[in-house]
Symmetry: C2
Subunit: 445 residues, 2 copies
Amino acid sequence: MQSWIESANAPLTDFPLENLPFGVFRTGKSSDARIGVAIGDTLLDLFAADESHLLDGLAKETVAACRRDSLNHLMSLGRKASSSLRARLMDLLSDPGAKQKVEPLLQKQVDIEMQLPAHIGDYTDFYASIYHATNVGRLFRPDNPLLPSYKYVPIGYHGRASSIVVSGADIHRPSGQTKTAEADTPHFAPTQALDYELEVGFFIGGGNAHGCSIPIDEAEAHIFGFCLVNDWSARDIQAWEYQPLGPFLAKSFATSISPWVVTMDALAPFRAPAFRRAEGDPAPLPYLNSSVDQTSGGFDVKLEVWLRTERMRRENTEAVRLSQSNLQDLYWTPAQMLAHHTGNGCNMRSGDLLASGTVSGSTDDSRGSLLEITRRGAELLQLPNGEARSFLEDGDEVTLRGYCEREGQARIGFGSCSGTIRAATPSCENVESLSKQRIGGEATP
Amino acid sequence: MQSWIESANAPLTDFPLENLPFGVFRTGKSSDARIGVAIGDTLLDLFAADESHLLDGLAKETVAACRRDSLNHLMSLGRKASSSLRARLMDLLSDPGAKQKVEPLLQKQVDIEMQLPAHIGDYTDFYASIYHATNVGRLFRPDNPLLPSYKYVPIGYHGRASSIVVSGADIHRPSGQTKTAEADTPHFAPTQALDYELEVGFFIGGGNAHGCSIPIDEAEAHIFGFCLVNDWSARDIQAWEYQPLGPFLAKSFATSISPWVVTMDALAPFRAPAFRRAEGDPAPLPYLNSSVDQTSGGFDVKLEVWLRTERMRRENTEAVRLSQSNLQDLYWTPAQMLAHHTGNGCNMRSGDLLASGTVSGSTDDSRGSLLEITRRGAELLQLPNGEARSFLEDGDEVTLRGYCEREGQARIGFGSCSGTIRAATPSCENVESLSKQRIGGEATP
């Protein structure tokens, strides 16, 4: 399918006519946030689309729901509503006759600033890559890398919602308690083992009532769409704090997500079998067992991590790809994660974010974190320009990319999820003044 | 101090003139939520108080901020605002001359329904009782109950915000994966080890900017007030799922909190020294070390757990007290928890909830969970009517209470935090219809 927007027809665009991911943007610091869909190197402003009365029927009702500063309400409307809107927008963006009316509603992506797509009530991070779990487990328990629960339980934990930021936000090196093997006591200092994690997240569309589980075969109807997630991690803080209650401050300083939410509709041509369990592996328990797993429980999404150091920027050399993996290699499907998460009656709300955990593959070039690549810093990662890394250094820019490619299908891209490491800010000068301002004034949220 | 409201002067009331905790109530299912303060067996409707123009100055500005359906905005205004409002309300509720004007603004507590006091963006649960950590650790590692990090790190984890419910809400027995020691494989079924945890929570008033830590000596200025928390736990699910990422579905099915938020002002007369560390224990690292700890880092709040079984209700016998402990026995102060939590730059938002973890004391009658009392079900708890418990049974009502008492001071109470265990709902009949309704309709949040 061709669009009258030329850039949407470029072979390597992330945002062809068949994608139309949803996002939230502002045209400037002081302007209101609005919802748009990406198409080529532009976006279509859905607030303006509603104003222009270009749509009718359910698509018209749905675009009216897009007069908000987040996708939560649209997400809550369910698949039929967003599918209907997407289909009608595809018509308008491919019909040359609509060009005159629709073109004024476009904005160049370079001119706008993307926001978080949703108010995220709760954020959950899973551990769904068996290769990642094995790589990490091997560092701590060489003889017994995988815990006995792994093949039965989609392991996950609650993450911090407040510190989720959109791609492009700088990441300040966090401080925390760490203890080296040689030291008698811990100390508090900026982390020396800052890492990224290559992940994919999915947003909840319609939620479930508290106390009512979502059955596995209903689960995908509750998923609105996908984004990229970088679960930044401080490995030295993590090692000292994580027993017995799991990761906490090692992760909660920041999590970056890509701004565009790629819908289930756009991903439909890229369904893939769920993970093929090895001979002798247990079958999923019935509440996690879906009849469609063997044909289409998974998603064939190619994932990449790129690094550009301060020196590369200074010398004007390109970023370096550190790894490639595929969402298809997850041991657990998104539907299994969601059915498991609600199996105890836990309620999901529209806009909640569930992430996969680090997506690693079976090969050395598919390890989704530096922890795995450098074996916890033991083996330096050599970069082509002579630099080397055990973990991230200040000035390093990490970019995640994701895309679907298949013969005969348009390429569906996720855009990118980037963040640059900045020096630690051991004391913010505004903290004291903040707590004074608070008195009688509105607090920083 | 005496109020013209007689019930506020009763010696054992939780809500004398000196307390005035804030909460959110509705007068009926279809009415809007409003903010009120508890006084004796009534509450003062702050929406009505604003309408009646009884206040002036900062108190008037502040009461105008109470025209909301949650305390978040009031919390964000900082201590000076809420203190000023509380002081002026104390005047009005003690001055017999104000009775005629104020009395019409009162509602009987029995006539209203309490709501969650705030929209809780993020919920964090700590593990701050060294007695609890030791009791639990001993069950798993008899020779080495306390992990080496415990005396350095205020251990905590992110909890689930969506499933926090207000006192009075029924708790359905959750299902989940468990595996007994004898079984080869796990199964999915209602928990057989449902437990309560006696905790205290504190709400964030003014937040901090992302990336900026809150210094220990500023931390209390960011705390708005306290409530009771019951962190319901399914011990069998927890045992099977918690490695390596910590508790997840064993806790996220429900957390109950008491509806009234007792302010830092009301608690001021009950400050107490922080935990006295044993000879040889490390001093807190500098970022957790406050000059006021030795005099007033802690809070002298008496805490109790009461159980009333189905049979006790049927036979009309009273609830039984299972334990008594004191918030003063926490190894870490609330200020230390907050300074630690933001030490990595994690941002707090007004209305975020941080809880203490189970508050147990050093004695056998001060163990704050059945896990500890029955040593993981190994020793039955005998009740006076001949019943016995290893863990909770359907129909059991658990009530937490908290109060401060000290010679020469008015008693400051927290009210109660109750929940009754109901049978598991393995499949909610409305789940399928929900996911159908979703399509084109508004989702259940």
